[in-house]
Amino acid sequence: MRGLTIDRTLVITLLLLIIFGVLNLYSAGQTDVPTQAIGVWKRQLVWLVIGGIACYVMFRTSPRLLEWAAPWVYAFALLLLAVTLVIGTGQGTAASTRSWISIGGHQLGQPAELAKVAVVLMLARYLSSRREAPISMRELIVPCLIAGIPFLLVLKQPDLGSALVFIGILFAMLFWAGVRPYLLILLASPVVSLLAAFTTWSWVAWMVLLTVLLLIWRPFVFEAVFIWMVNAVMGFIAMPLWNRLAPYQQNRLLTFLNPEIDPQAAGYHAIQSKVAIGSGGLMGNGWLEGPQKRLAFLPTPSTDFAFTVVGEELGFIGVTIALVLFLVVFMTMVRIARRASDPFSSLLVFGILGMLFTHVWENVGMTVNIMPITGIPLPFFSYGGSFLLACALGLGMVLRVAWDSRMSGYIEA
């Protein structure tokens, strides 16, 4: 027994991140021209209180109860997503999408955020219920469906960013459940084929590489053939699929490859974000003092591009501190997942890790143009009630698992 305490490292790091995030959000509202970001930090504080309560409730909830409730939660989440597609509304810059559930004009929240936690729960329950880790493609069908259904429903909203999080969760949890990495690579191969199909030569090269890999890794013959076929088909349908994307989605992908092709419109966000970060330099312009933010050149400084404000005002040093804090959180979560008292708890923690990491990497990556721009919030930095609540729920569960493992008297292997 190490004593009846919660995981101090995680709590302290999280608190530091929350303080960092709120200060940054306050700064995001300090502009020379009126923007929507003014006063957002106060609302974020309200959500933090609500999140704190949710976190505490989850902390006091047994993983056993969660394991039991997982299918119901999952079903409820799918139901909400389906309902959202019918009665959902958009907001702000994404006004044409259907991401929000609102009653009487009040927007209650984004079901996609709840669905992320639900998928983690459901995958944890399914994967932990198996004696052996999946060793074939066939055995991956069920987990893929568990993540795939909400993925498609969210994609339909359309909200590519959130949809990608389900993929992140799926791969993280499959890996933690013991699925061999090569299977994961083969699972991902159709997507690679799709991207490689932009030029014939890269696609041919990929197909050759895939063939070689299949020969080396020697999966089941039928599956190998199937995967090879799927990859081939992907190469052929790449163009029709591309044409079916909404123009703004096409633009986002194209401007990711080269933001300067359309600096005034589609590439504007990408360029302005990078300009603001680059102008920050080593030390930054000082808290509250970022000119690009102050003069509203920086788009959505309180949500999607909150981290850009860090880059502009606190410079490379501020960015490094924030990223190190995130890294510490993730490392701690890896430790908690490893020391969890049972597979469900362990998978649960790693699923939450996958969810948060996808958010952090995609969001931060997009601010420096190493990831395409998708409207995806950064935990603790971006303003957003539903997402903060989802994070709080997840982290409550993580803290509980950490607590349980200490309670169980687990001894380091």
Binding site: D32, V33, S128, R131, E132, A133, F175, W176, A177, G178, Q272, K274, V275, A276, I277, G278, S279, G280, G281, L282, P291, Q292, L295, A296, F297, G311, G315, F316, V319, T320, L323, F326, L327, F330, M331, V334, R335, A337, R338, D342, P343, S346, F350, F357, W361, V364, G365, V368, I370, A413
Partner: protein
């Protein structure tokens, strides 16, 4: 195999940690590249986002007279500009502006035009706002977002219309000026010289504009006017020192009779222009901060054409003063001496072929030698002299004396004289048999197809004052290549001509302009005008023995044909002012009358098709209409 055995988990946890560190490493590297390696680039770009450059006008260099007196200077002024993110918001701003400071629709149109030309810069509304206007605007600043008030050096001409044609005026540079690179180094919104010395020496006077930065937001709205970025101060233009004698110039302006058109050029025998005056004049101060539309229309539609510098941009028939050119040619060629008489004495005219050419004096002059003929301006003598010299020689030598060329004075644009280059000119115009030797007679008395500018004629008399050696006139004291032209006269011949010119004043046509303190020498003249009103000339120098000033003067369309008084008294006054000083001035009102030695009648001058001459915006001078 239990995948959740601690040993298995340990392995996966290690992999997971590596992946995490690796992916975070990628992020850190990306930020390092953006924030440290490419920092400068993005810093510049960020500044380009938020800063808009506003040019700061450089003070134009002063224009000084020969003694350092100020002809053009700078005084503190204000410019009012509006910065707007779009045309619509500018229109809205201007509507607000109108409520505070009245501006007309013409001005509004100009402002919008300036906005179109450079939408990222504040558009100039008032180039020369008074302190009251500025104070009023400051009071209403909150209603006028994007109001930029700048203290700016403002051009001022203390002597306004007295110096107008010499200094010229300034104006905003236009887009077409820039595309033609008329003013190298000038930027849109800058002020450049548009006429006179301001234009001629613009590159020296202009200086280099500075830059000030205002801060704008993402919509291009002004957020901060001051302190957004360090200001680059303007570099003032250099002053130029002219040869102008400002008191003399002022004096000429003060004695010039109201309502009379004409011009005066005064220079030293060394070619330094002491005064240049053209009437009617205008006020160059009207152009400061942009001339108003109505004032500009007034200036350009006035039949008197006040913007025209009649000293260098108008051509007049040289008339009798050209007789000196005839004399120079004849003396140089050895055809006559100063004492030579012509075969036929003057009896009031000369029968030539089937035409009778009158002398201006109906009673006739009798038999005169060259000296007497110059003093009395006898036409009959010069008719015969012209026939003796012959038209080809007159033209050839006339060209040698510079009557075909511009003087090359450092003030533009100077009009080129009209002077046939050879008799082939007449063959071309009228056919080989279309003209007779009567043309020679016309030429001999300075009529015919020969028109000269005031500066051009003054230059010739400067040559006479110098004993037959002429130098290019100039206004600004700076090393410029001065062409020296030698008339090829012997010392004796030059002295003879001087004696003749003295005689004009002592006992000849200008005897009423004698001065007590010094001897004036010169030649009167009347250029014929079909309307009946003649142009009066006087060209001369003083003191005759050792010239210090050469003066050329013309007055257009004078009343009367055979009046007693002349233009000469004015020249006498100017010379007296320069040589003796202002205290000695007699306060005698002058009467303007035509000299008596006018040619007998208007001579035909066919519409000329000479080479195109560079003329200022008002195209051709309103010289006497001739058919």
């Amino acid at each position: 195999m239990n995948e959740f055995h601690p040993a298995r988990l340990q392995g996966r946890a290690a992999s997971a940690r590596w992946v995490l560190v690796l992916l975070f490493g990628v992020l850190i590297v990306a930020f390092f590249r953006t924030q440290i390696v490419q920092h400068e680039r993005f810093q510049l770009r960020a500044q380009g986002n938020r800063l808009r450059a506003v040019p700061l006008t450089a003070p134009r260099g002063a224009i000084l007279d020969r003694n350092g007196l100020v002809i053009a200077e700078n005084v503190p002024g204000y410019s009012v500009k509006l910065f707007a993110s779009s045309r619509d918001s500018l229109s809205a701003l201007l509507t607000q502006f109108q409520r505070i400071v009245p501006i007309d629709s013409f001005q509004i149109e100009e402002v919008l035009q300036r906005y179109r030309a450079s939408p990222f810069q504040p558009a100039l509304v008032l180039g020369d706002a008074s302190f009251q206007v500025v104070a009023q605007l400051e009071e209403h600043r909150s209603a006028l977002p994007g109001l930029v008030i700048q203290a700016e050096p403002k051009r001022q001409y203390p002597d306004s219309s007295a110096v107008a044609h010499v200094v010229g005026y300034v104006g905003e540079v236009t887009e077409s000026d820039l595309s033609q690179n008329k003013f190298p180094g000038a930027a849109l919104g800058g002020i450049v010289g548009r006429a006179g010395l301001e234009q001629q020496y613009d590159s020296i006077l202009r200086g280099t504009p500075g830059t000030r930065y205002i801060e704008v937001d993402n919509r291009g709205r002004m957020v901060r006017e001051e302190g957004a970025a360090p200001t680059l101060p303007p570099i003032a233009g250099r002053a130029i020192r002219t040869t102008i004698d400002l008191p003399l110039q002022e004096f000429i302006d003060s004695i010039w009779p109201v309502g009379v058109r004409g011009a005066v050029v005064a220079m030293t025998p060394q070619g330094q222009v002491l005064a240049m005056y053209s009437a009617p004049s205008f006020d160059p101060n009207d152009f400061i901060g942009g001339i108003s539309g109505s004032r500009w229309r007034e200036l350009t539609t006035d039949p008197a054409r006040p913007l025209l510098n009649r000293a260098i941009q108008a051509r007049y028939p040289p008339g009798s003063p050209f007789k000196l050119a005839m004399s120079v040619i004849a003396l140089k060629k050895g055809i006559v001496t100063i004492n030579s008489h012509m075969g036929i004495p003057c009896r009031g005219g000369l029968q030539f072929g089937n035409r009778y050419f009158r002398c201006w004096k109906r009673e006739g002059h009798g038999s005169l030698d060259l000296l007497g003929a110059i003093a009395q301006s006898c036409d009959v003598y010069f008719y015969q002299l012209g026939l003796r010299v012959g038209l080809p020689t007159i033209l050839e030598e006339g060209i040698r004396l510079g009557f075909e060329d511009r003087t090359g004075i450092d003030l533009g644009p100077e009009i080129a004289p009209i002077f046939p280059s050879s008799t082939a000119y007449f063959d071309r115009r009228y056919g080989p048999r279309g003209w007779t030797n009567a043309t020679t007679l016309n030429f001999a008395i300075g009529q015919g197809e020969n028109t000269q500018s005031v500066i051009g004629m003054t230059r010739f008399y400067q040559g006479l004052a110098n004993g037959g050696v002429e130098v290019t006139p100039y206004i600004v004291e700076r090393p410029s290549k001065q062409v020296v032209r030698n008339y090829g006269l012997t010392e004796g011949q030059a002295l003879d001509l001087r004696r003749a010119l003295i005689q004009v004043v002592v006992a000849g046509t200008a005897s009423r302009s004698r001065q007590l303190e010094f001897q004036l020498a010169g030649k009167t003249g009347t250029a014929q005008n079909t309307s009946g009103k003649n142009h009066g000339w006087f060209l001369g120098f003083a003191p005759a023995e050792q010239p210090k000033i050469v003066i050329g003067m013309i007055m257009e369309s004078l009343e009367g044909e055979h009046g007693g008084a002349m233009v000469a008294p004015y020249v006498g006054q100017i010379a007296r002012y320069f040589l003796v000083g202002p205290d000695s001035m007699l306060k005698v009102p002058l009467r303007v009358l035509v000299p008596e030695d006018s040619a007998p009648r208007p001579l035909e001058l066919r519409p000329d098709s000479g080479p195109p001459v560079p003329s200022p915006e008002p195209a051709a001078p309103p010289i006497g209409r001739r058919r």
